[in-house]
C-alpha cells in the first residue's frame, strides 16, 4: 500500500475493523436519519407555505428532489468504490460498491415514481421522453444491470469485479443526468438549488429540503453499513474473527 494513505484508513479497510466501526456508527446514523426525516416531513408538509404557482402540489419536492440527489450521489460513491476495487482489489471496496447498488436503485425508483406523480398533476403527463427523464431511467437500468451482473457469478468476488466494471463505465451518465436540463430543451425545469450562485427557492421552503437531504444521506450510511456488515460476514465466513463473533453473539 502506498505510504500516503494514513495508517488509520488502511486499518479501517480491514474487514473486522470496518465491521466493528460500522456496527458502532449504524445506530446513530439510523436514529438521526429518522429524526431529521420526521422534522423535514413536518417542515415540508405542514410548516412550509404553498407555492405561488403550484399550490400544495409542489410539496412532493421534499421527497422527489432529495431522492434524485441520492440517486446520483450513491452512483458516485459506487463508481469510486468500483474504481478502487478494480485497481487495488480491496475487498471492502468491492463490498461497498455492490452494497450501494440496491440502495441507489431504490432511490432512483422513488425519484421516477414521485416525478411521474408530480408530472401528471403539473405538466399533464405521467411520462415523456425528455432528456432528464430518459437519462434518469437509464440510471435505474445501470443500477439494475450492476445488481444483475453481480449475482450472475458463482464466485462473489469475481462477480463484484465484473459488475464494478459496468458501474465504472456507467458513471458517465451521472453528469448527463445532472446537466441534461441545461444541454437540451426539456420539459423538466432547470436546477433550483445551486451550489454556486443564488437558489431560486424561498428560505421557508429550502430548509425542509436540505434537512431531508441530510436525512437521506444518513439513511444511506445506515443502510450501507448494515449491508456491508452482513456481506463481510458472508465473504469471510471461514476466518477466525467471524468465528469469534459467531461464538460470542450466538451464545448471547
Amino acid at each position: 500500500m502506498a505510504n500516503w494513505i494514513p495508517l488509520w484508513l488502511h486499518k479501517l479497510s480491514s474487514p473486522p475493523a470496518f465491521y466493528r466501526f460500522a456496527g458502532a456508527l449504524r445506530p446513530w446514523a439510523i436514529t438521526l436519519a429518522l429524526l431529521l426525516g420526521l422534522v423535514a416531513l413536518y417542515g415540508g408538509l405542514v410548516l412550509a407555505p404553498p407555492d405561488y404557482q403550484q399550490g400544495d402540489d409542489y410539496r412532493i419536492i421534499f421527497i422527489h428532489v432529495p431522492c434524485a440527489w441520492m440517486s446520483l450521489f450513491i452512483y458516485g460513491v459506487m463508481g469510486v468504490a468500483a474504481f478502487i476495487a478494480l485497481v487495488w482489489r480491496i475487498k471492502l471496496a468491492e463490498v461497498v460498491a455492490m452494497a450501494s447498488a440496491p440502495i441507489g436503485a431504490c432511490f432512483t425508483f422513488i425519484t421516477l415514481v414521485t416525478g411521474s406523480l408530480w408530472g401528471e398533476r403539473m405538466w399533464g403527463t405521467w411520462w415523456t421522453w425528455d432528456a432528464r427523464l430518459t437519462s434518469e431511467l437509464v440510471l435505474l437500468f445501470l443500477y439494475l444491470g450492476v445488481i444483475g451482473l453481480y449475482h450472475s457469478f458463482e464466485d462473489r468476488r469475481q462477480g463484484a469485479r465484473t459488475a464494478a466494471f459496468l458501474a465504472l463505465i456507467g458513471i458517465v451518465n451521472v453528469p448527463i443526468v445532472h446537466f441534461s436540463v441545461n444541454w437540451w430543451n426539456t420539459l423538466h425545469q432547470g436546477s433550483t438549488i445551486r451550489l454556486l450562485g443564488p437558489s431560486s427557492i424561498a428560505p421557508s421552503m429550502i430548509w425542509p429540503l436540505l434537512t431531508m437531504m441530510a436525512a437521506t444521506k444518513l439513511y444511506y450510511v445506515a443502510s450501507l453499513f448494515g449491508r456491508t456488515r452482513t456481506d463481510l460476514l458472508a465473504l469471510e465466513s471461514g476466518k477466525d474473527w467471524v468465528r469469534q463473533i459467531a461464538e460470542t453473539e450466538g451464545r448471547a
Partner: protein, 156 residues
C-alpha cells in the same frame, strides 16, 4: 505501487477516458439534432418542415385563450421572443395551463395553424409563497414607477 496495480490502473483509466470521450461525442451529436421542441419562430423559419409531428414550445399569449362553449375545443396563441403561432386543441388542459405560462404542445401544422393532440404545461424552477410573489411584484412595479418618475425628471 507495484507493477500489477500500475498496469490495472492504466487499463482502468484508459477505458474510462475512452468512455468519457465517446459519451461526450454522443452528447455533442445529440445536441445538434435531438430537439425536444421547436419554438414558434423556429417553425416560422421552416426548421420543423422535416417533421410530420413535432412539439411546439412557448408562452401562452395574454388574452389569446378562447374556449368553445359547446365542446372542449380551445384556441390560443403560443409566442416566443419574436414569433407567434395559433394553436388549436381539443381536450383537457393541465391545471397549470394559463396565460403567460410556458406550454409544450404536440401535434402537426394544418393550414398555418398548429393542431395539437397533447398540451403539457411547463413550470420553472422557482418556488416561493404567494405573499413573497406579491411583494416582489409590488417591488417590481414600484421600480417601474421610480424609473418612470426619473424619466419624467430627465425630460423637463
Amino acid at each position: 505501487m507495484n507493477p500489477t496495480r500500475q498496469r490495472r490502473l492504466t487499463i482502468v483509466i484508459a477505458v474510462l477516458v475512452a468512455v468519457i470521450i465517446s459519451a461526450a461525442l454522443v452528447v455533442y451529436a445529440l445536441q445538434q439534432n435531438m430537439n425536444y421542441l421547436f419554438t414558434p419562430s423556429q417553425v416560422q423559419a421552416g426548421e420543423a418542415t422535416r417533421y410530420q409531428n413535432f412539439r411546439l414550445g412557448g408562452m401562452v399569449k395574454q388574452g389569446s385563450i378562447q374556449r368553445s362553449s359547446d365542446s372542449l375545443k380551445v384556441t390560443f396563441t403560443v409566442i416566443d421572443a419574436s414569433g407567434a403561432m395559433p394553436v388549436e386543441y381539443n381536450g383537457i388542459l393541465p391545471d397549470l395551463f394559463r396565460e403567460n405560462q410556458s406550454v409544450i404542445a404536440t401535434g402537426h401544422m394544418d393550414d398555418g395553424r398548429f393542431v395539437a393532440t397533447e398540451v403539457l404545461a411547463k413550470h420553472d424552477e422557482t418556488y416561493m409563497p404567494q405573499e413573497l410573489k406579491d411583494a416582489m411584484a409590488k417591488a417590481h412595479a414600484g421600480k417601474h414607477i421610480d424609473e418612470a418618475a426619473n424619466q419624467d425628471k430627465a425630460q423637463p
